[in-house]
């Protein structure tokens, strides 16, 4: 009743291939963009922006990259945090050593460097699949973090082992308030999400899905497995690298190589699984879920026990709940929160009818 598509035709191929062909979807997106660009920076508090919204966007970007690799191309990967580390350290070193490089340029370059390394570590995917590939990506994760740790050049020979991000300077303006950083992040994440949606809908995305479903058959149909798989690795690592650079510059300000450890990779994996594999909305839902869960648990504990719970108990409980949720999602809704949202939209289309 609220979501009728009747009467909206596509009268050209271009219109048929639009990302958001329905008027309601276009309207919805404009509302979301208005909230994102206008309402949020004005009315959201600094805490909300810097502790919730910015990490949500950045982690959604990284999860999007991981989703491209796992959800669309079907290559199991546990190395996303490693590529984030590459992006973060590359951006830091570029701004440090290349005088006058624009921030956006540095971010893009560091994404490309991450993409190059992603291709390197993605080469095994041409021979191995599934779980074996997961172990190969573990190799990339551990090796990258070890490399960044051992060779002091990456950290500018800092004795404490951490790096401090420089300020973000775009067109001469220093972005140091949370609202400004938020806008930078929003623009980058928005553009890259749009790119990802286009890729997923286009021939690249179809190639990935063919490889995911059955790569032997895809190859017999003439799809170049080399190009498709390596492209998936490259683009996924690009996204993770840009996400890593933003993670350093717009969120944490200081990181060490160990920040991007295997636990971080697992968190990203959870965001992708819970959010929904093979969707664009999924990473956003999944990363919001994982970010909000500890806060929600805290509130629940306060409500039930009336006092703050011991930190170790809280974190152990969080771990258990993560695990249980993953299993529950895999049993009942393997396509994640994005699918639940899709089902809701379907119901809304037909409401008040059942079918």
């Amino acid at each position: 009743m609220f979501y009728r598509e009747a009467g909206q035709y596509a009268d050209s191929y271009a219109k048929d291939r639009q990302l958001l062909p329905l008027r309601q979807d276009k309207l919805g997106m404009m509302v979301i963009l208005a909230i994102g660009f206008i309402a949020t920076p004005i009315w959201a508090s600094d805490y909300l922006l810097s502790a919730l919204v910015i990490p949500w966007l950045i982690l959604a970007l990284v999860s999007l990259g991981q989703n491209i690799l796992m959800g669309y191309a079907g290559q199991l990967s546990l190395g996303s945090a490693g590529f984030m580390a590459v992006g973060a350290f590359a951006c830091y070193n570029l701004i440090l050593r290349v005088p006058g490089i624009p921030f956006i340029g540095a971010v893009i370059l560091s994404g490309l460097i991450a993409a190059g390394i992603g291709i390197l570590f993605g080469l095994p995917s041409l021979r191995i699949r599934g779980l074996y590939l997961a172990v190969a990506t573990l190799a990339s994760q551990f090796f990258i973090v070890w490399c960044l740790d051992k060779f002091g050049w990456f950290k500018n020979y800092d004795t404490s082992g951490i790096i401090n991000a420089q300020a973000i300077v775009i067109f001469g303006q220093t972005m140091n308030t949370p609202a400004e950083k938020y806008l930078v992040v929003l623009v980058i994440v928005g553009l890259m999400t749009w790119m990802a949606a286009n890729m997923a809908q286009g021939s690249i995305g179809r190639g990935w899905m063919a490889v995911r479903d059955m790569d032997v058959a895809a190859e017999t149909m003439g799809l170049s497995l080399l190009r498709t798989k390596l492209m998936a690795f490259a683009i996924s690592s690009f996204y993770c690298g840009v996400g890593g650079a933003l993670f350093l510059f717009a969120y944490l300000q200081t990181v060490e190589p160990a920040t991007f450890n295997i636990e971080f990779s697992f968190r990203i994996l959870f965001m992708v699984i819970i959010g929904g594999l093979g969707t664009i909305l999924g990473p956003f839902l999944g990363s919001a879920f994982i970010l909000l869960l500890p806060i929600f648990l805290n509130i629940m504990f306060h409500a039930i026990f009336g006092q703050a719970v011991d930190a170790t108990i809280a974190s152990a409980l969080e771990t258990v709940i993560f695990g249980v949720l993953i299993i529950v999602f895999l049993i009942f809704e393997p396509l994640g929160l994005a699918r639940l949202w899709q089902i809701t939209k379907e119901r809304l289309r037909l409401w008040p009818f059942k079918y």
């Binding site: 095994p124 021979r127 190969a136 551990f142 697992f266 969080e318 949720l325 993953i326 049993i331």
Partner: protein, 297 residues
């Protein structure tokens, strides 16, 4: 020269310790084609419960069967709640489910028994064997040797079970195809419970050895990640392959750390097994002893 032998033997024995953990993986994979990412967490949970029971007052020989019963119960519950709803699903789905399971085990272990590091005394000292040290000037730890023997015995026993007994055939049938095994009357549920319970007991033994060597602490879960290269090199479906894979990984790791480590600042053992596994995969994707993977369109 003596030092070289020391490093070699040390590497072989530490590799056997990895084999102990990898054995649990192979067991489950061989019997249900599920890669149990939760094996490391099970090792941690099993030995932590064992030590916890001993702290509660049970002596060594009482805590052991109690923990074994606990792991069998864990196997039953896992089969009922996680495996049965996911029968027939894709390999990736089951893998992700076991990742979730790993987190559940880790969290429950810490909730139930706390986060303190505990020691474990098995009566075998982590000291060099006397007559070797005195006669040949080679230091080989008694504990490592005992662990190696235990690993060897378990591998032999499990190999025999898989190849000679009716239960073993049933396990291999289930691994081949869940639905087909059900259709010819193999009691799938019982088999899965047996497999997971056995893996739990194997995890307990592995945990006891590791716990005696490096203390019962959360880092034990990371050891399971190290067991994955062992599996890859040896082959996922081969019980003897676990030993060979473990030996290779152990030796390579120790040699690299001792001889190449000083040039690059150490820490090589963190990633060398994985890179080694990748090279093995490129040459022989199914591992040294694994079954060849045939994929059909």
């Amino acid at each position: 020269m003596n030092f070289f032998f020391e490093v070699l033997v040390g590497g072989l024995l530490s590799g056997l310790m990895y084999s102990l953990v990898a054995l649990g993986f192979v067991l489950i994979y061989k019997a249900s084609a599920v890669f149990n990412f939760a094996q490391g967490a099970m090792v941690f949970f099993a030995v932590l419960s064992f030590v916890g029971f001993m702290e509660l007052g049970l002596n060594f020989w009482l805590a052991l069967p109690v923990t074994i019963v606990l792991m069998i119960c864990v196997g039953i519950v896992t089969e009922r709640l996680v495996l049965r709803p996911l029968v027939g699903q894709s390999e990736d789905t089951l893998l992700m489910a076991t990742i979730g399971l790993a987190f559940v085990f880790e969290g429950v272990a810490q909730l139930a028994w706390g986060v303190n590091v505990r020691g474990l005394d098995l009566g075998i000292a982590d000291q060099p064997i006397d007559w070797l040290a005195n006669n040949a000037d080679i230091l080989v730890s008694q504990l490592d040797l005992a662990a190696g023997l235990v690993a060897g015995i378990m591998v032999i026993v499990l190999s025999l079970i898989f190849s000679k007994t009716k239960v073993g055939r049933g396990l291999r049938a289930v691994a081949d195809d869940n639905a087909a095994a059900l259709s010819i009357g193999i009691p799938l549920r019982q088999i899965l419970v047996v497999v997971w319970a056995t893996a739990g007991v194997v995890a307990l033994v592995a945990g006891m050895m590791w716990g005696a060597r490096s203390g019962v602490q959360f880092a034990l879960v990371g050891v399971a990640l190290k067991a994955m290269p062992v599996l890859i090199i040896g082959g996922f479906t081969s019980v003897p392959g676990v030993i060979v894979g473990g030996l290779i990984v152990g030796v390579a790791e120790k040699m690299a750390e001792v001889y190449v480590g000083p040039f690059v600042g150490g820490g090589i053992e963190g990633w060398l097994p994985y890179v080694l596994a990748v090279f093995f995969l490129l040459v022989r994707p199914e591992g040294l002893f694994g079954e060849k993977i045939i994929r059909r369109v």
